[in-house]
């Protein structure tokens, strides 16, 4: 076992996969000589050279399209979005081609590409740098979407994403990079895409969450336990495809559902989960499902307003209580 930071775990995943498979390469802004804005690709340029660790100009639309072209022709590119928000400029290439070429080509071409980078609300980064795009891309067919909350999941899921033959969007959280965790020293740590992680068994209420909000929920658990509540906490880890099996099993046990997410409340991951649970487990619900999400506003710079924009521990505790009581 070794203690790893979230950013190191990501680095190790890429390093191991690049070592294992010469087709795997990284491209993006400052991924090479600079080592990545969050140091995820540190040292790779020196080890693997400029062809496999490609510093690109600031041309998101075209380098994403290039990555599609590479992926169609035997390379396995990992795009780093310096901030995932910038990839709004590459939306058409990611959606049209990362998501659809496999289908429109009748199965002839695959696009094994990973699009990874930081997102989420950080420390007063302002509206454009605080975006959560997981919901914007959610409807696009053909894509898989991952959002790990811990170093171990970050490593295991990134390795799985790199080995996956579909286009995978991999959302890291800007405030998790310096999170530490003990991880086994194996190179075989591959966590299957599509499997959620049961963090706490409980009977009161099912809490579904992902990415940074997992940690807010874990904090809330302490207080809730002390006060005699018994929530079941699930880290979705993979947002698309959802682990409907685990979600269903839990809802059938608790009959109550709370979703804690950092993306916008409107049309967020939570709304799709609610729709699915309504469709599959309606009779199991004893109360309306609740979404605890970010307010539907551009993330304000002001610290207090920013804090009020996203779900906080107190909100989670409050939400669980009003759901259970």
């Amino acid at each position: 076992m070794a203690v790893k930071y979230y950013f190191e775990a990501l680095h190790d995943a890429i390093h191991e996969e690049m070592t294992r498979d010469s087709a795997v390469m990284v491209l993006g802004e400052d991924v090479g000589q600079y080592g990545g804005s969050y140091k995820v690709t540190k040292g790779l340029y020196e080890e693997f050279g400029e062809w496999r660790v490609l510093d690109t100009p600031i041309a998101e639309n075209s380098f994403a399209g290039m990555a599609v072209g590479m992926a169609m022709t035997g390379v396995r590119p990992i795009i780093e979005g310096m901030n995932m928000g910038f990839l709004l400029l590459a939306f058409s290439q990611i959606a049209n081609n990362g998501g659809m070429v496999r289908y429109t080509s009748g199965g002839q071409f695959t696009v094994p590409m990973v699009v990874r980078g930081p997102g989420g609300v950080g420390k007063q980064l302002g509206a454009e740098h605080s975006q959560r795009l997981e919901a914007y891309f959610y409807a696009v067919p053909g894509l898989k979407i991952i959002a790990p909350a811990t170093p171990r999941d970050a490593k295991g899921l990134l390795k799985a994403a790199i080995r996956d033959n579909n286009t995978v969007l991999f959302f890291e959280h800007v405030l998790l990079y310096n999170l530490k965790e003990e991880i086994e020293d194996t190179e075989d740590l591959v966590i299957p895409i599509g499997k959620a992680n049961l963090l706490r068994e409980g009977t009161d209420v099912t809490i579904l969450t992902y990415s940074r909000q997992v940690h807010h929920c874990l904090q809330a658990m302490k207080t809730l336990e002390e006060e005699g509540y018994d929530p079941e906490l699930i880290d979705l880890r993979t947002l698309k495809p959802l682990d409907l099996e685990m979600i269903g099993a839990s809802v059938c046990k608790t009959h109550r559902l709370l979703i804690v997410e950092e993306d916008y409340k409107t049309a967020g991951i939570g709304s799709e989960i609610m729709a699915l649970v309504n469709e599959h487990f309606f009779d199991q619900l004893d109360a309306p499902m609740v979404r605890l999400a970010s307010k539907d506003i551009p993330t304000p710079y002001n610290g207090r307003m920013e804090a009020a924009t996203i779900p906080q521990v107190a909100d989670i505790i409050q939400a669980v209580k009003s759901l259970v009581d």
Partner: protein, 333 residues
């Protein structure tokens, strides 16, 4: 024969065999597209169908010099680029009919032709969308250390889109084996090139990236071929990208849905006179590389190929609707 003795001594720049290859390929493109028009009006194919009539010299001049393992990437006006790269007329026509035997298994349609077997990377329906993709394929070739080249066809209108400039810059930075072929047919649907580009000579934009750029008579397949040869050699030798601006014209509306009311009849007439197929046949005859009979025979042979393609498409089954989810993910085989 006696006649030959009197014939002026001229040497052709192509052999008789090469001449046939070029002629056959251009006639195939033309005949195929004319058939598409018929089939469209008969309700056998749907959607937006963009025909290539008039621009054959470009696809043929480039593609007949490519190796099977070279990459070709196109736009929504992609039928003939696919054919010239070797995709069988049957597979293309069947795709347009939406059949299971189509080159995209009926899922793509006119604007989304693909053929992995021919390294035909596809038709792309968004303007300029294929440019970065072809550039990525060129990167792959270099990445894998092969000497494959990537050829990318697109229109004058695409050169006003950011992807064009972004991609040229990257291709130059990394010295990629790619040929950017601009088919400047003077129009983007109803938008005149001169109203859309502040500098109408597209080849000059290559200077902004230190890429060699050339302007070529896109109605003269031999001129295109000459330029293509150079560019492909450069790319194959690892000397980097080239931008070829081929001045050409489409003989039909933008798509079969386009009334085509804005283009001046005189302009159309002017270009029709330079029909690339007529020019080549004149050349082949003048240089005694072929006889009228031989060319007529090819015309008929090609007509048969296209008729057969229609027959094949007709006889082919529709893709089973219950396989509608198949190929959304890579896991589906």
């Amino acid at each position: 024969m006696v006649q030959e003795l009197h014939a002026p001594v001229k040497t052709a720049e192509i052999t008789r065999e090469e001449g046939f290859v070029l002629y056959r390929d251009m006639v195939l493109g033309r005949t195929f597209e004319d058939m598409c028009a018929q089939m469209y009006y008969r309700g056998r194919m749907f959607g937006f169908v963009h025909l290539y009539n008039g621009q054959e010299a470009v696809a043929t001049g480039l593609s007949t010099l490519l190796r099977p393992d070279d990459y070709s990437c196109s736009t929504y006006r992609d039928h003939v680029h696919a054919l010239s790269k070797g995709v069988p007329a049957r597979a293309v026509m069947a795709e347009l009919f939406g059949k299971a035997t189509g080159c995209s298994r009926g899922r793509g349609g006119s604007m989304h032709l693909f053929s992995a077997a021919h390294n035909f990377l596809g038709g792309y329906a968004f303007v300029s969308e294929g440019i970065p993709i072809a550039t990525g394929a060129a990167y792959s070739a270099k990445y894998h250390g092969t000497d494959q080249v990537s050829v990318n066809f697109f229109g004058d209108g695409a050169t006003n889109n950011g992807a064009f400039f972004e991609s040229l810059n990257m291709a130059a930075l990394w010295n990629l084996p790619i040929i950017y072929v601009v088919e400047n047919n003077l129009w983007s649907i109803g938008m005149q090139h001169a109203r859309a580009s502040s500098v109408t000579d597209i080849y000059k934009k290559a200077l902004a990236f230190d890429i060699p750029g050339y302007q070529v008579d896109g109605m003269d397949v031999l001129a295109v071929r000459r330029a293509a040869k150079q560019a492909i050699e450069r790319a194959r030798k690892g000397e980097g990208p080239t931008l070829l601006e081929c001045n050409t014209y489409r003989f039909r509306g933008h798509s079969l849905a386009d009334p085509d009311e804005l283009r001046d009849p005189a302009e159309k007439e002017f270009w029709r006179k330079q029909d690339p197929i007529k020019q080549l046949s004149r050349y082949l005859l003048e240089y005694k590389l072929a006889t009228a009979e031989e060319l007529k025979a090819i015309d008929e042979e090609i007509q048969a190929v296209v008729d057969d393609a229609v027959q094949f498409a007709d006889d082919s089954p529709e893709p089973p609707v219950d396989e509608i989810y198949r190929f959304v993910h890579a896991e589906d085989e």
